[in-house]
């Protein structure tokens, strides 16, 4: 592992141990929790979060933020659901491609506004978040697309399993691996870290930080689009408000996973851990008999703890003067 990431990978390691410890603690109280079947369920349940968080990580690493992912997911999901209703003969592969395309276009819209008009990412995506939700309503006239209006193949794809894991889990695993390789070994991946870490210096190295942000938004959008199909097929329903507020969980998973909100820092491993952590909490709490509302509380605590930890890791020396 590259030493430049050593502080980050140390953090990932500590957090990995913590996650395993959490898993162990739950399993001691509820041995059934640690059964392969249940763990597979947890991963299955967390896969969409992982896919979205990986996209979000790219956006945050390049100093952006994407509040519109959940709305993008819902809109792309609605588009493919409507398509499937009207043309049930379309195969799953074209459906996924259309979902990715739709998400990618919506992401590109965010990216263009941030790159070309230099608008602040949080404002742009807050705006498009509402716009995308609004478009769902316009497309669907507020109506639902229900299970009986979806083709069997459309619904079945997400339920196939292989070695105990469903399509969802395999997709998350494959995308995480691809993401790891791309971020470590592709020029564009390294350029994202450079652009997010020091945009001025990046410019002097011939990297356009705005262009890197654009690429990050397109990838994040395309992943959100694919997740739109996965979500609609998994829950067998599409309507205006699906995944409402889910973007906050996605961002939370990134922050818990060690992505620096100031940009330039974040790892695939950390983000996947962050998602699994949220997934374990979400699945374990009902078992332990604690209300699901505590989940938000615990996630919040973990975010604060994570931020506190990385703040303490920074050199304390002359922090007053060097804080920019």
């Amino acid at each position: 592992m590259n030493a430049s990431l050593s502080a980050a990978s140390r953090r990932d390691l500590v957090f990995g141990i913590l996650t395993v410890a959490l898993l162990a603690a739950v399993s001691v109280a509820f041995p059934s929790f640690a059964s392969p079947a249940n763990l597979a369920d947890v991963l299955n349940d967390t896969s969409i979060l992982i896919l979205l968080a990986l996209g979000q990580m790219l956006v945050i690493v390049t100093r952006g933020i994407d509040l519109s992912v959940a709305a993008n997911l819902a809109l792309s999901g609605m588009i493919v659901a409507l398509l499937n209703r009207s043309f049930p003969a379309i195969g799953v592969l074209p459906i996924i491609c259309i979902a990715a395309l739709s998400g990618g276009v919506l992401g590109a819209f965010n990216g263009l506004l941030v790159w070309k008009l230099r608008l602040p990412p949080i404002v742009v995506t807050l705006g498009t978040m509402s716009i995308y939700r609004g478009v769902i309503y316009l497309l669907s006239q507020g109506a639902w697309v229900n299970e009986n209006e979806m083709s069997r193949e459309f619904l079945r794809f997400v339920r196939w399993d292989f070695v105990e894991l469903t399509t969802l889990s395999w997709l998350a695993i494959v995308v995480a691996l691809l993401g790891f390789i791309a971020l470590r070994y592709s020029g564009a991946g390294r350029d994202m870290y450079a652009a997010g870490g020091n945009p001025t210096a990046a410019q002097y190295c011939g990297i356009d930080p705005g262009r890197m942000q654009f690429i990050a938004y397109v990838i994040s959008g395309a992943l959100a689009g694919v997740c739109g199909y996965l979500w609609v097929a998994r829950f067998a329903v599409a309507y205006t408000d699906i995944a409402l507020g889910f973007e906050l969980q996605v961002i939370a998973a990134c922050l818990i996973g060690g992505v620096a909100i100031a940009g330039g820092v974040g790892s695939v491993f950390g983000v996947v851990l962050g998602c699994l952590f949220i997934g374990i909490i979400r699945n374990a709490l009902p078992l332990v008999g604690i209300s699901a509302f505590w989940q938000m509380f615990i996630n919040g605590l973990v975010i604060l703890a994570a931020v506190l930890l990385s703040a303490r890791q920074r050199e304390r020396k002359r922090s007053i003067l060097e804080a920019v």
Binding site: A7, A194, Y204, R318, E322
Partner: protein
């Protein structure tokens, strides 16, 4: 024939004309010094040469061929490499990756970390750099970060190397090392453009000079046939009769006495005093612990042991508020991030340490603020249309005047200045020195930390030399020579 020629380059930003008629020629195997006051257009020229900006008019010729430098990557392809003034280093990336950003070694399209690390290690070895290519750049000192930038240039077989004030934050020994390297590169046929405010360095390293004033070239030639006075005259457009406006001091009783002050890992057993009417210079290399000492005196950090007395009374400066109450003021080294609030107006910046005075019954008065600002802009001759001007829009020298003025307005007894004239032009430097001289003649004291040897020798009544966190020597003005001070400051 010159390797690179710029003729009649013009460049405006909005209504501001940064370059009106810039001419420059760089010869292979020669070091050309680019000299000019701040605002003379040097930085703009560098940005044009490095492909960040395009000229509005004029021509750039490389080996006799007209070229357009479209973007930074293009400049690099042409063999133009830049060591930038501000540290353009990626703290989040490793040393090795920093050297190859924009041009990473690839294998079948994928980044080859092995090759990158190997080549980085080779270049670092060439530079006698001792740090690990795998270390995160954020863990390095400013001087080491500069070395990374130079190393970046070396990874690309640069034909033109532009060094934009590379020595501003370097200590003496590091400057020597940098110059050794520059000579090596130039001997290998590289054209070097060296930009600096320090004449000693210019005469030390360069063969040729080119002087800029107000965006235009006003003279160029062989340095051997020129003199420092002539260059200064070209720069400011008027002769400078005396470099340091220092008048004989009227010393009084000690204002501040520091005894056996220590802070683990930064400095040990520091003792000295400063008297009324005195300018105490503190000289040392980067890392000698000077800034750290100043920060303890100003309450930004606390000492582990030792004592500080102000006016014969022992004080515990545990916070900046207490230090200010004791009449201590501190003008930090980096005015851009530590000294001034750039997007604030001159008046608002001046008001910051003086809010109690400006808000007599708890309510701030805009009228008093403007009054105060007008008074100090007048006293320090800050060049500005009015006090509502945003500090960002001022030149470096005028920014520094504002930072000093905001503290002077509080009427401190002891003024600590950390590199007070770093990166500001000759005229502003002189003005800052004059302010210091007037200040101590009112019975106050100045502690001046500086790496600028002529400034230390020219302005100080006594010179304290630090090395590796300890006091190594204390010279009176009469005893001090540049050789003696440097000897005390270096490990030799």
């Amino acid at each position: 024939m010159p390797f690179l020629t710029l003729s009649h380059i013009q460049k405006s930003f909005g209504g501001t004309r940064a370059l009106t008629d810039a001419n420059l020629s760089l010869h292979a195997g020669q070091v050309t010094a680019l000299i000019g006051e701040n605002g003379a257009g040097k930085s703009t020229l560098v940005k044009i040469l490095s492909g960040v900006h395009q000229p509005d008019a004029g021509e750039i010729q490389l080996e006799g061929q007209a070229v357009r430098i479209d973007h930074p990557e293009h400049a690099r392809e042409l063999g133009i490499s830049v060591v930038h003034q501000e540290s353009v280093v990626f703290d989040n990336l490793s040393v090795a990756e920093n050297m190859f950003v924009g041009d990473r070694p690839r294998e079948r399209g994928w980044v080859s970390w092995r090759t990158m690390r190997q080549r980085a290690a080779e270049v670092l070895k060439q530079l006698d750099a001792t740090f690990d290519p795998d270390a995160p750049a954020g863990s390095l000192s400013i001087a080491q970060k500069h070395v990374i930038q130079i190393a970046r240039g070396l990874t690309r077989r640069a034909r033109v190397l532009i060094m934009d004030e590379p020595t501003a934050s370097l200590a003496h020994r590091e400057v020597e090392e940098l110059f050794g390297l520059t000579r090596k590169l130039s001997a290998a046929g590289c054209s070097v453009l060296f930009i600096s405010h320090k004449f000693e360095e210019v005469f030390d390293i360069a063969n040729r000079y080119s002087v800029f004033r107000d965006g235009a070239s006003v003279g160029e030639g062989e340095l051997a046939a020129s003199s420092r006075d002539e260059l200064i005259r070209l720069m400011v457009g008027r002769p400078v009769e005396q470099l340091f406006p220092k008048t004989p001091p009227e010393l009084g009783e000690p204002l501040m006495r520091v005894e056996h002050l220590s802070r683990t890992g930064e400095f040990q057993d520091i003792s000295f005093d400063v008297r009324r009417g005195e300018i105490l210079g503190i000289y040392g290399l980067v890392g000698a612990g000077r800034t750290e000492l100043a920060q303890v005196l100003f309450g930004l950090e606390s000492a582990d042991s030792g004592s500080i007395e102000v006016c014969g009374r022992r004080v515990a400066v545990k916070s900046v508020q207490e230090a200010v109450r004791e009449g201590i003021a501190y003008v930090p080294e980096d005015r851009q991030t530590q000294g001034a609030i750039l997007p604030f107006s001159i008046a608002s910046n001046l008001a910051l340490p003086n809010l109690t005075a400006l808000a007599p019954r708890g309510w701030w008065s805009a009228q008093r603020e403007t009054q105060l600002a007008d008074e100090w802009v007048e006293t320090l001759k800050v060049k500005t249309a009015n006090t509502a001007t945003v500090v960002q829009d001022l030149s470096g020298g005028n920014q520094q005047k504002v930072v000093i003025a905001k503290w002077l307005a509080r009427k401190p007894k002891i003024l600590i200045l950390d590199e007070p004239t770093k990166g500001i032009d000759v005229g502003a430097k002189r003005a800052v020195h004059a302010v210091m001289d007037q200040f101590v003649h009112r019975g106050c004291a100045v502690i001046m930390i500086s790496s600028d040897l002529p400034e230390i020798l020219g302005m100080s009544d006594r010179i304290l030399v630090m090395r590796r966190g300890r006091v190594r020597a204390l010279f009176t003005r009469e005893e001090a020579t540049s050789e003696a001070v440097i000897r005390a400051a270096t490990d030799a």
